[in-house]
Subunit: 211 residues, 2 copies
């Protein structure tokens, strides 16, 4: 947003009101788009279908997002914000290293068990789908995925530095941990309710059990 | 096929010819359906689109498969046969245990590097998509996935029995190995050409490097 939300003058207030409603509507549509995409994939999104789901006019949603790709990118952004709120931010209360890795894994498990999105992990559903479709959506998903891997690797390096873990390759360890979380999400959704213990056991092998 | 392919009588021969052509056409359509599904997901399949791709009539493909679900199941079956030919059968030439695990992983890497399907691993693309869609297609994908995990676990148990690996939980080890292979497939398709070394390194930690 480049425009200030409050400004003098009645005409401006009306415009600001519209702007605020526009921002709220974008959030409402982006949230619904992220939910749908977690189940049916980002490629299953359509402006017409979201408008119908939310009781909005198709032309209104069209005005907010313009193209299907911009709608997909808004869903990807919304999912990222929701993931940060559910997993990354609460875990940042734990001390860096092994404790924060454990907290990240526990919050991640809660994120797919609860689940935050009806289809489970947003990235598990969409990275596997978009890895064969070059473009802005794939780039955005890949950048978020790399950010998550870098976060895990950074905490593992801290754990090694603090003597809480054996000095394994941090990038390979982060790759393994993310791979096992993603596989647990799929197993959970296929009906194996005990699957979420697997990443806990893998993590315990890497940094020891919780103290 | 319940009908014999060769039988006496001209009329029967004509029918058998049609039956053979029908079987071949089914294979041609199922192969194309598996290719499309590896890129766009099984849900992206449509009888009309496949008919257009292959220069067949829509009604002809409709006659062969009937419903979209039967077409999806045919694609899933075809993918399984192709995977067995490319990965499971050649690896079965290696002695059981560590050597066969290494061979399975190497053939799996070739299967996604070559790749056998244009979208990379068929199950990575479709399990993540279908885990939220109960039904016959999900059940077929899940059964194949469990068969693959059981194969890996069985060879790991052999490796432990032969003293080639530490006595870790075989099911957890198979889960980890499959998770890392699946994650490597996605990383490879996102442009990280070195990703396939990661499952090799994980396997080497489990059963030691190739001799």
């Amino acid at each position: 947003m480049n425009e200030p939300v409050q400004r003098a003058g009645t005409g401006t207030r009306v415009r600001d009101g519209r702007l605020l409603r526009g921002v709220r509507s974008r959030q409402v549509v982006a949230r619904r788009a992220a939910d749908v995409a977690s189940v049916e994939g980002l490629n299953g999104l359509s402006i017409g279908r979201l408008a119908a789901d939310l009781g909005l006019s198709k032309s209104g949603v069209q005005t907010l997002f313009g193209t299907k790709e911009r709608l997909q990118l808004a869903a990807v952004d919304f999912a990222q914000q929701a993931f940060v709120e559910a997993v990354v931010r609460p875990a940042s209360a734990a001390p860096r290293g092994a404790a924060r890795l454990r907290s990240l894994v526990e919050h991640w498990i809660a994120y797919v068990e609860a689940p935050l999105f009806p289809g489970g992990c947003f990235w598990a559903a969409n990275l596997a789908d978009f890895d064969s479709r070059p473009g802005a959506v794939r780039d955005a998903l890949a950048a978020q995925h790399h950010g998550w891997l870098a976060l895990l690797a950074g905490e593992f390096r801290e754990a090694v530095r603090a003597g809480e873990a054996a000095p394994l390759d941090a990038d390979l360890t982060a790759f393994q941990l993310d791979a096992v979380l993603t596989a647990a999400n799929i197993a959970l959704r296929l009906g194996d309710s005990g699957a979420v213990d697997k990443p806990r056991r893998v993590l315990a092998e890497l940094i020891g059990p919780p103290v």
